[in-house]
């Protein structure tokens, strides 16, 4: 069975990575490096693809970020729900698709399917050692924004469908949520869809993470940093 390397040595050394169909929720306060952690987890490894739903950054800014962090952009698709708000006439291409706003769950679902279809049909760059089914990391940056546009119950139902599809495709899902902005009910409902929760906190000496949901793993806080798009544990 294929496993997805996380870049978190604690997980990769103990478990070899995360199994297909897993969903990872990053709970991170604002001003932390939780978002970058999400990108580090979704960075496609050899033979893999990444699909990003951005509700925060424009795709053009994301591409700049990927370039600066030395991500291989050929294997990354973006669903951009930000740019059309300011630039309505922008057109889709194979690797970037636009939806009218983060509230447009119909459009997001359609573009998600379309991107997956493109990957399966080989319309993205193909790796020399291509795998089947193609391993895909799907990252939603962020649930915080989606929850501002849609009701919790609606978003839960939508994510329920998406996570089921990811499971069928043997992909993984990565989601980030600002845990300072929502009540316990919201966090608890979102956690129901997840297999692994990574909590992030910021202290004077840097950022720390704690992993829950991986059996046999310590639940201690561990300092980390993101360097060139990769996660580095400091302990």
């Amino acid at each position: 069975m294929y496993t997805y390397a996380t870049g978190i040595s604690l997980v990769d050394d103990a478990k070899g990575g995360i199994p297909p169909g897993s969903n990872i929720l990053i709970l991170a306060p604002s001003m932390s490096s939780g978002e970058q952690l999400g990108y580090a987890l979704s960075r496609p490894r050899q033979g893999e693809y990444a699909l990003i739903l951005t509700t925060v950054k424009r795709s053009v800014d994301l591409l700049d970020y990927f370039a600066s962090e030395q991500f291989d952009r050929k294997f990354i698709g973006i669903i951009d729900s930000v740019t059309r708000l300011s630039t309505p006439d922008i057109n889709d291409n194979t690797q970037i698709k636009f939806v009218s706003s983060p509230s447009d769950l119909t459009g997001i679902g359609i573009k998600f399917s379309s991107m997956i279809e493109s990957i399966f049909n080989g319309e993205f760059a193909s790796a020399d050692d291509a795998l089947f089914p193609p391993p895909i990391r799907f990252y939603i940056d962020s649930l915080t924004t989606l929850l501002m546009y849609r009701k919790l119950e609606v978003l839960y139902q939508f994510l329920h469908v998406i996570t089921a599809k990811l499971k069928k495709m043997e992909a993984i899902g990565i989601y980030i949520l600002n845990n300072e902005s929502f009540d316990e009910k919201t966090l608890s409902l979102m956690k129901q869809l997840m297999n692994v929760v990574i909590e992030v906190k910021t202290e004077q000496h840097g950022d720390f993470l704690r992993i829950r949901g991986v059996i046999g793993l310590s639940q201690e806080w561990v300092p980390f940093r993101i360097h060139q798009g990769n996660l580095e544990l400091m302990a």
């Binding site: 708000l85 009218s100 706003s101 509230s103 399917s113 939508f158 469908v161």
Partner: protein, 387 residues
Amino acid sequence: MIRTGITGIDEMLGSGIPRGTRVVFSLEPGVEGRLFTYRTLATVLREKKKVLIVSPHSTMRAFCSEFSGLLNMQIPVRDGGAVILDSTMRETINSREKKVNFRKNAWKNLIQDTIKKYSIDVLFVYFDLLYEDLGLERALDVLPATVGEKKITTVVEHLNLEGDSLIARFASENMFDLIISVHSAFTLVPFFNFFTLEYVSWSRMPRRSIPYSITNHNICLYIPKIIITGPASSGKSTFVSNASDRGISVDRGDLDGYRTTVAMDLGWLHFHGFDITIFGTPGQPRFDPILPQLVRNAMGIILILDATRPDTLMRARELLMLSHANKLPLVVTVNKSDLPHQMDEVMIRQGLKLRDDVPVFFISSLKRSDVHFVVESMIDRITRHPY
């Protein structure tokens, strides 16, 4: 009347969607179903009807841009052919009215006033956010069936996150006159799209499901596989050839000098709005091992018999068993019935142990009209079958 502009659906609905009715395209998440509404909108605009579009999820410019990008057609907002109430309107209403009932009334009055002011004929509504903001019944209440003396046709697009129970509610509580649900079968290798005609209030039409593909932003209904099987020399290749717009046949001469199919016949046709692929199987028993593979994922089976050869009924029965025909729509076709023959329907039904609902047609495969009649019957059965 309005039409959807989707060949196949319009044919099934007969003369179109009556004035004053309420239509819903209920989309499963992830399925490329937005074109159903866009196609209907484009058709209505081409007929110079005036439309009001309620699009709370996007700005007017974003909506127009996406529509024109997909259909290469502009929405005539400037000359008054179309009016759009967009996301800014929703923001205004939601910030101004804090109570749900007040919001509902604000939407209701706004829609009615706009319809009156611009003499709107057809209302297009993107329903999700209205449903979320107001609840189902209030959201439906803002969509008028008539304004003054005028009957308003309403086309609703809705992302269905609640599944079959919501569709059942739509139908049982008469919330819509026409319900079309749009689905995708999301397997490991994507994707198989289909829609289901769930309910039609103005016509007694059975629930039916039909696959579709999207080609150049057009919705094209299709039947990926119909199997033509039957004993050797019953006329399968002739049937496939006369049914098809184009096709190929893999034939070889046998020891007696006759030609026989050794792999399959393959034909494509566009018929009654459907793209159809038909596969003719070989009839010789030595090819039986490939039959289960050929039949795999077929949507229907046409069994061809030779009216002059009652001795082949046993073989035909074997072929039906091999094809698992009891699980699929089946049509039995008795070919060469223009020649002297002794087989009749009773004998065939008994010999093949047919279900009562399986039709038996006596035809000549040499006549295209006969062949097309059988194909039409097959399509009808496929579209009624609960896959």
